[in-house]
Every structure is written in structure tokens, then in C-alpha cells.
């Protein structure tokens, strides 16, 4: 059962990373315009011909 000593903290850490990532995305306004974000990827005039 010694494996738990590092597996459990590792699992929790991974979960926490996800949570922090979500909070960061929320705070930086990435959920403010979901429909727009889907469309902004389409035009490709930012690429030099």
C-alpha cells in the first residue's frame, strides 16, 4: 500500500491543476464569447500568403 503515498497526492494534484486551469480561463474571459471564439478561427488573413 506504500504506493498510495505518492499516487494519491499525484491524483489530487492533477485534479487541482484542472481546477486552477478552469478558474484561470474563467477569469481571463475565455467563456465570455463562446460563439465568437468558434468563428474567429475561420478567417485566415493573418497568415502571410
Amino acid at each position: 500500500m506504500n504506493v498510495l503515498i505518492y499516487l494519491v497526492p499525484l491524483a489530487l494534484l492533477l485534479g487541482l491543476t484542472g481546477l486552477v486551469g478552469f478558474m484561470w480561463a474563467l477569469k481571463s474571459g475565455q467563456y465570455d464569447d463562446l460563439d465568437g471564439a468558434a468563428l474567429r478561427i475561420l478567417p485566415d488573413d493573418d497568415i502571410a500568403p
Binding site: 500500500m1 485534479g15 478558474m23 474563467l26 464569447d33 465568437g36 468563428l39 478567417p43 488573413d45
Partner: protein, 766 residues
């Protein structure tokens, strides 16, 4: 005349000194629009940043004042092909968006904690039946506690705060049992963990919070979408006034920036932006949006005009009056306050359930504890069992039962063009049995339509094309019929008389009967329509412009009657205008020429007969009646004040959304009741198990999630109310309802007529 546009009211200043403005943009529909608008604006000198929020259809622009102005930006957008309207965000919207963000954060924390605790719990459950040692189990329980306690303290805040608010005012709401349940489940688990027990309930408490937060968030998201939509529409409709400054210059500015005493210029065909007295000019005023009256009222210097009415053929200079006593808007607002005050606060279904549920559950838990003590069980066992009863009764199913249905039904309504204004609109609409309609703008289309049945189509087309050059409201109705939307060159408008232009070398005239060489007697022939005359060469015609019924009004009214609703029309318009409409719709109970106060009196009268009224109206004069009725509905074209009172708004030219609202609401209420019944059945099974002291954490987790999922799935059935069933006649079984309505119907007559016996136009034709 040159005119400057003053938008300073909408412009904010940020820290670096740059100006900032939010614009609601009309006509954005694709990826190309985003690029066109943003690159188009960013190219302008002085613009620092322009970013379009596609979801909200709003554009945020930052610019340096000294290089470019707000009006230039709007003009630039117009040149690219988009109508933009300055937008002043309302406080409510900002509050809602903060609330939504907070709920989302709570949801994220609850979700993270619930998943991780569930991982640990499943290990414990499987370990309990295999070879897990007591030490490992304790470690897992402590780890669960470490995750669950802070997470619940954070994610439970929406419930704790609301429960505290309710308790402080000595009320019970659904959040009280939720808070008690969660706190006790966590407390008990902690105690069990400390005493090295086999069971802990951390996962149940967190799952409960997670499910409930999902419901809350979806509910709020739906309401935000409605408000966003309504907010944009309001800014599209926002009114501007032309202010005549002392030096004779004209400034175009938002109506809210007008001060009493300002002189404003109202062009022919424009909406009068504020109450006031006419200084110069002669015209006729169409007040149909205010009073429902469809004939124009002549005004001259000294006359009082009201905001919201439409100016006729002459330009007017108006001195803005303070919003003092005596104006119509003022009268309406006074009535409104009274109506809102008098409206008995209806208790929501969810709160009613909570009031029943909380005492029953808490008593059951107390009795369990006492019962086990009397039976000779140890104190620890009695308390643990009592808490298990509290947890297993699961506020989850009950707390989700109603919001889940509400979210699904609101989405369903949104798709069919009905947007909800108030949270309990669905419940209240479902409870109504009598529908009161306003006529102008509600049963009829908001804009009048030219009636061309008796007129040569070629002549009609010429008249319609000539009408493009006129500012008169009647001409605007005619101009909509023009196939070729190019005005004739050389058209001249003569104020107060009409417009003339040479067509193929022959003079054509459009306007008053006299202007076109016809006698007034001919024009007066058509009772319920206003006429506009047209003369071209030797030919002439009188074109009646009338309020036309919404295209599906007859079918919708028919379908509503089949569903057992009593229908009444209360209009502010003249009798002669209301009668033909009522006859065509087959509505036998109608009253015309009513003031706002009389409308309220009639609504109160109907209410005193035990009816629950759904008021459908759009005029400013309907606003108090909308507030007084049990539930209310307005077309999106309604006056601003009226919209604010309505429980729901419907879009488009058709009346069908009104029917749809009723159908979906009734179905939703049925589902809410079913859900409550499901929750009761679930409790009937689960509570005896808990009282018997047989609940393990596994049973608790399965029972809680199971009941939540069941209730949510049942709520999804609200989507099944397909559009097809609306206009089809009700099932044969519903005949009893129709019969009941018929027997109840005539009672309206004796009750209403004495009250309005002295009223000239009062007529309730049986």
C-alpha cells in the same frame, strides 16, 4: 440642416484617459462580420481597440477623444453596413453576470471535489468487501474530509446565504433544508471518521451540492440570455431627440439626456420623445401606442403632447415639460405602483413545497431519534439514524424538481419566440383560465397596412412608390407595399397636405382628399379605416389604411377557446374600431374606449369572480392592467414601460407564440407536479429504510444520484411539447372543460355591466 450628435451619455472614460463605449450591433451573423467590423474600426485613426462579442452581439470600442468622436465610429460602422446603437448596460445585467461567474466557480469547485471524493469513496466501498485495512480506510476518510470540508464551505455559499436570508425574515425556503442536510452530513461524517467508523457521507454531501449548482447555473444562464436579448432590442429602439439650442443649432441626443424646458424639434412621422407643450407648428398626433385610439388627434400651438405618440404631417417645436402630475405617463405610473402593491404575492410552487417539506422532514428525524431512544438503543445510534433520515430524504430531488422543468421549458419557449421576463412566469401563466386581450398592436399588427383589394394594382404601385417620399405615418404604411423602393425624382412634400411628383410627365398627388381633388365626404365613408387619397392623370383612388389582424389571430383565438379559456377584449380604441375585430375573432365579450384606470377596475372585477387572468397587451395604457393581472404577455413592439411589467414577451408578427406560451406552461406545470410526486414516492421508500437504521453510504449515494437523474430526465420531457399540437383542436375529453367555461362565462355579464352602466361605450354583447 446640419446636426451634431451628442453621445456623451454613453461614453465612459478608463484609467488611461481613453474613451470607451459599448454598442449593440444589428445584423451580425457570420465569421466575416467579426473581421469586417473589427478591422474596419481598427483602421480608423484614433481607435485603440475594437472587439466584437459575437454571443452578445455587442461591440466594445476604445478610442482617443482628440482624434475621433463617438458619432464618427457609428458612422463608420454604417458605412461598412452595420447599424450600431449605443448601449448603456443596466445594473441588473452586471449583477447577473457577476452572479453567473460566481455560480460557475462554485460549480467548478464542487465538481472537482465531488469527483475526487467519489474516487476515494469507491475505493473504500470496494475495500470494505475485500481486504482494506482499517488504517487505510481512515486515511481515505481523512483525505475525503480534507477535500470535502473546504470545498463545501466554498461551493455551498449560494445556499447558505440564501437560507440565512430566509431565516432572518422568519421564512422557510428550499435552501434551509439543503443547508441543514449538507451541514449535518458533513458533521456526521467528520465524527464518524474521528471515531474510526466504517461509513462516511462526504461524497453524498458534495454530489448534492454539485447537482443543485448545475440547476441553479442553468436557470440563471437562461434568464441572462433573455435579458441580453431584451437589452439589445431596447437599445435598437432607443429614442433620440432633436434639441434646438439657443443659438439655433440642432443637436441629436438620447431622450434620457433631455431636461425640462429644452426645446425639441419633432419632424413629421417621428415619435414624440418627451411630454411637453407645442410651441409652433400644426399637426395631428397618433397616440395608438399610448391609448389604443387609432384616429389621429389634431394639435396646434399650446396643445399638450405625450411621449410615445407619433407626429403626423407637420413639424412641431415642443417645449419639454417636467414629468409632473397630470401627464398620461405619470397617471399610468401611479396606477402601476398601486397595482404592484395590491398584487398578492403569489407563493412559488417550489417555496410551497419547501414549506411543507422542511417541517415534515425535521419532525420525522426528531421522532426517529426519540423513538430509537425509547426502544433502548444507545444515544450514538439514535443520533446517527436521525441524521441519516435527514440526509436520505434528499432535498436534491425536491430542489431540482422545479428548476429543472423551468430551464427546459424556458429553452423551449425561447426557441418558439417567447422570452421570459420573470422567474415564475411559467407557473403563473399555467394557472390562468381567462385571457384578456388589448386590441391595437396585440390582436392587430403594430403597424397599419394599406388595403388594396378594390384598387387597380398599377395605380396602387405608383401610389406606394410616391409614398416613399412622404413622412406621414399613413404614407409609411402605404410605402411598405412599393415593389420598387426608389422614390420618384422631383417629389415635393407640402406640409399638412400631401406629396406630389411628376410621373412620366403627368402630375401625381398623394395626400388628403382635398389635395387630390376629392371631397371629404367620400373620405369619411369608410368608418374603421383612415384614408389616403391618390390622384394620377384623370384617375383617383381612396386607399384605406387600417389596422389588420395578426395573420394567425383567428386560428389562435379559436384554439385558445377550444382549450377552455374565456376570452375578453378590453380596448382603449373607439367602439367602431373594436367591433369588427371582435366579430371577426368571434369574441363576444368586449369593451371599448377604456381608460387605464377602467382597465384595472375590470381586471379586478374579473379577479373577484375567482378568475385567474392572463393579460396580453402592448400599449402604455395596458401597463397597469398587465401588472394587476395574474400573468401577463406583451409583444416585443410594446412600449418600454409596458414591457417591463410583462411576465413574458413574444416576437414576430404572429400571435401563435401566445398560444405556445400557454401550452408549454401548462405542460411544464404538469411536469413540475409529476416531479414533486416522484420525489415524494422516492422519500416514501427511502425514509423507512433510514428510520430502520439500514442506510449505508452506498445506498445513500445511489439513492441521491438516482432520484436526481430521474427527476431531470422527467423534466426533459418538457421538450416533447411539439409545435404541431398547438392549433389542433383539444382532445374530446376536454369538452368538459369547454362546457364548464361556458357555464361560468355568462356570469361576467351581470357583474361587469352594472359597474359600467354609466359608461357610454360599455357594451358586452352576449
Amino acid at each position: 440642416m446640419a446636426e451634431t450628435l451628442d453621445l456623451s451619455q454613453f461614453v465612459e472614460r478608463n484609467d488611461s484617459g481613453a474613451a470607451h463605449m459599448t454598442l449593440a450591433v444589428d445584423g451580425v451573423g457570420c465569421a466575416g462580420c467579426i473581421r469586417k467590423i473589427e478591422s474596419g474600426l481598427n483602421k480608423l485613426p484614433g481607435v485603440i481597440d475594437a472587439r466584437l462579442n459575437f454571443t452578445q452581439r455587442r461591440l466594445a470600442v476604445d478610442w482617443r477623444d482628440n482624434e475621433i468622436g463617438a458619432a464618427d465610429i457609428i458612422q463608420a460602422l454604417e458605412k461598412i453596413g452595420y447599424q450600431a446603437h449605443p448601449f448603456a448596460p443596466e445594473r441588473v445585467e452586471a449583477d447577473d453576470s457577476r452572479q453567473a461567474k460566481w455560480l460557475l466557480k462554485c460549480l467548478a469547485v464542487a465538481g472537482f471535489a465531488a469527483m475526487n471524493v467519489m474516487l476515494l469513496s469507491i475505493s473504500v466501498w470496494s475495500g470494505n468487501v475485500s481486504d482494506m485495512t482499517a488504517v487505510t480506510r481512515d486515511l481515505f476518510h481523512w483525505l475525503s474530509a480534507l477535500i470535502a470540508l473546504p470545498a463545501a464551505a466554498y461551493a455551498g455559499q449560494p445556499f447558505f446565504q440564501s437560507a440565512w436570508r430566509a431565516l432572518r425574515t422568519r421564512q422557510l425556503n428550499m435552501d434551509v433544508p439543503i443547508t441543514v442536510g449538507v451541514t449535518l452530513a458533513l458533521g456526521l461524517s467528520l465524527y464518524e471518521t474521528a471515531t474510526h467508523a466504517v461509513h462516511a457521507y462526504f461524497d453524498s454531501a458534495l454530489m448534492l451540492l454539485f447537482f443543485l449548482l448545475c440547476g441553479r447555473y442553468l436557470d440563471l444562464a437562461m434568464r441572462r440570455k433573455t435579458k441580453l436579448f431584451a437589452g439589445n432590442l431596447a437599445s435598437f429602439k432607443a429614442e433620440f431627440a432633436h434639441r434646438l439650442d439657443s443659438n439655433g443649432e440642432l443637436t441629436r441626443l438620447p431622450v434620457s439626456a433631455l431636461d425640462p424646458g429644452d426645446r425639441i424639434l419633432v419632424q413629421p412621422g417621428e415619435l414624440i420623445p418627451a411630454d411637453g407643450a407645442v410651441l409652433t407648428g400644426i399637426s395631428a398626433i397618433d397616440g395608438s401606442l399610448m391609448t389604443g385610439e387609432t384616429t389621429a388627434r389634431p394639435v396646434m400651438p399650446g396643445a399638450t403632447v405625450y411621449a410615445g405618440s407619433i407626429n403626423g404631417a407637420g413639424a412641431l417645436t415642443v417645449k419639454v415639460a417636467a414629468a409632473g402630475a397630470g401627464t398620461l405617463v405619470d397617471e399610468v405610473e401611479r396606477l402601476l405602483d398601486k397595482a404592484i402593491e395590491a398584487k398578492s404575492r403569489t407563493v412559488r410552487l417550489a417555496d410551497r413545497a419547501a414549506r411543507l417539506y422542511a417541517p415534515v422532514v425535521h419532525t420525522a428525524a426528531a421522532l426517529t431519534c426519540i423513538g430509537w431512544l425509547i426502544a433502548g438503543a444507545p444515544l450514538h445510534f439514535a443520533i446517527v439514524t436521525a441524521i441519516a433520515v435527514l440526509i436520505i430524504t434528499c432535498p436534491c430531488a425536491i430542489a431540482l424538481a422545479i428548476p429543472a422543468v423551468q430551464v427546459v421549458a424556458a429553452g423551449q419557449l425561447f426557441r418558439s419566440g417567447v422570452i421570459l421576463n420573470s422567474g415564475d412566469a411559467i407557473e403563473r401563466i399555467a394557472e390562468t383560465d381567462t385571457i384578456v386581450f388589448d386590441k391595437t398592436g396585440t390582436l392587430t399588427l403594430p403597424d397599419p397596412v394599406a388595403d388594396d383589394c378594390a384598387i387597380d394594382p398599377d395605380l396602387m404601385q405608383r401610389a406606394a412608390r410616391l409614398a416613399l417620399s412622404s413622412h406621414h405615418p399613413l404614407a409609411a404604411a402605404l410605402a411598405r407595399r412599393a415593389a420598387k423602393r426608389v422614390p420618384y425624382p422631383g417629389a415635393v412634400e407640402e406640409a399638412g397636405r400631401g406629396v406630389r411628383a411628376p410621373i412620366d410627365g403627368v402630375e401625381a398627388r398623394l395626400g388628403s382628399a382635398a389635395f387630390c381633388g376629392l371631397s371629404d365626404a367620400q373620405a369619411a365613408r369608410d368608418g374603421d379605416a383612415s384614408c389616403i387619397a391618390f390622384a394620377y392623370g384623370g384617375r383617383s383612388a381612396l386607399i384605406p389604411i387600417r389596422q389588420s389582424l395578426r395573420p394567425d389571430a383567428i386560428e389562435v383565438v379559436q384554439a385558445l377557446r377550444m382549450r377552455g379559456f374565456d376570452l375578453v377584449i378590453l380596448s382603449g380604441d373607439r367602439r367602431e374600431a373594436v367591433r369588427p375585430i371582435a366579430e371577426r375573432l368571434g369574441v363576444t365579450r368586449w369593451l371599448a374606449a377604456l381608460t387605464p384606470a377602467e382597465k384595472i377596475a375590470l381586471i379586478e372585477l374579473l379577479k373577484s369572480q375567482g378568475r385567474r387572468i392572463l393579460m396580453v397587451g402592448d400599449g402604455l395604457n395596458d401597463a397597469p392592467a398587465l401588472a394587476a393581472a395574474h400573468a401577463s404577455l406583451s409583444p416585443i413592439t410594446a412600449a418600454h414601460l409596458t414591457q417591463a411589467q410583462a411576465d413574458a414577451l413574444f416576437l414576430g408578427d404572429r400571435l401563435a407564440p401566445a398560444l405556445r406560451a400557454v401550452v408549454v406552461a401548462r405542460r411544464a406545470r404538469r411536469l413540475m407536479r409529476q416531479n414533486l410526486a416522484l420525489a415524494v414516492i422516492y422519500n416514501a421508500i427511502a425514509v423507512p429504510i433510514a428510520i430502520g437504521g439500514l442506510v449505508t453510504p452506498l445506498i445513500a449515494a445511489v439513492a441521491m444520484s438516482g432520484s436526481s437523474i430521474l427527476v431531470t430526465l422527467n423534466a426533459l420531457r418538457a421538450r416533447l411539447a411539439g409545435p404541431r399540437e398547438d392549433v389542433t383542436p383539444a382532445k374530446p375529453g376536454d369538452d368538459t372543460v369547454v362546457a364548464a367555461a361556458a357555464t361560468r362565462g355568462p356570469s361576467l355579464l351581470p357583474a361587469v355591466q352594472p359597474a359600467f352602466a354609466g359608461h357610454d361605450n360599455a357594451e358586452l354583447v352576449p
